[in-house]
Symmetry: C2
Subunit: 135 residues, 2 copies
DNA sequence: GTAATTCCCTACCAAGTTGATAGACTTAAA
DNA sequence: TTTAAGTCTATCAACTTGGTAGGGAATTAC
């Protein structure tokens, strides 16, 4: 399951996508409209900034805004950044791979099945962007 | 990601599937062959028994064994029992549904996307059984 | 009927994660 | 130079995860 943090991140990104190229948006505005705890949201947005998804401006008239075209930010990317691996097993993850102890990947039935599940999920998540999320 | 507990559960079930209808198998044998901490495995097997997947016999010659034909035990069922929801959001889960606060499911882009991901995963996990896992 | 074997049960624990809050600090605009 | 923002550090309670300990209860063999 996606953590609450991830769900908040998506709500905030949806809000910012709706306001793409309309100037900075206050954290407090996002928090209020999307009903997200203010200080928690601060952390999330800061993290998304450090990872290059968002950019910000300080001082009066400041706020957060998308660093790139929302049509170019994949949902899969956001999930990996905020939530972690998409795959159900470490030995099957593309971005967080760790090999199995005591289990030969080549003849592990679970491994093969989880590769299928991963690919089925990615066929959707790699082909949807922030733009698809917003109104 | 599947918890270690889930991964242990699958390893143990795979072992028991290979020995289906060959009499009870000792916890200690499974623990040794699959390299699972003994006491932790005890808990897991007991849980699987309470949920009707396994059955057991006490005393000499006792042990654990599958309660039903492994070809009839879906992988999705095991994941739900041991690991929890398969869906990425509570508002999208078939077996662990909880409605979204502050979010209209009918026009939530994330909701719709996560329904797709859930169905893609289930198309695999509901159609594979313990038999498919084993050799 | 009693000893050995095996699962069953209750309790506990350390470490990590999650969700959240508090407060001071820095930058930039007016 | 004041004020309005975002930024940073730190702390916290509650929960989950992975694992351990030790005895109790049922069954079998003798």
């Amino acid at each position: 399951m996606l953590s609450k943090k991830s769900q908040y991140a998506f709500k905030a990104l949806e809000y910012l996508t709706d306001r793409y190229k309309q100037g900075p948006v206050l954290i407090s505005e996002i928090a209020k409209k999307k009903k997200i705890p203010l200080k928690f949201l601060e952390n999330i947005l800061l993290e998304l900034k450090k990872e290059g998804i968002l950019d910000s401006k300080k001082g009066k008239g400041g706020g957060y805004f998308l660093a790139k075209d929302p049509a170019r930010v994949k949902v899969a990317t956001i999930i990996r950044l905020v939530n972690g691996p998409i795959a159900m097993l470490p030995c099957v993850s593309l971005y967080f791979y760790e090999r199995c102890k005591n289990c030969d990947e080549k003849k592990c039935g679970l491994h093969d099945m989880m590769v299928e599940v991963r690919d089925a999920s990615l066929s959707i998540l790699e082909n949807r962007t922030l733009k698809d999320l917003a109104g």
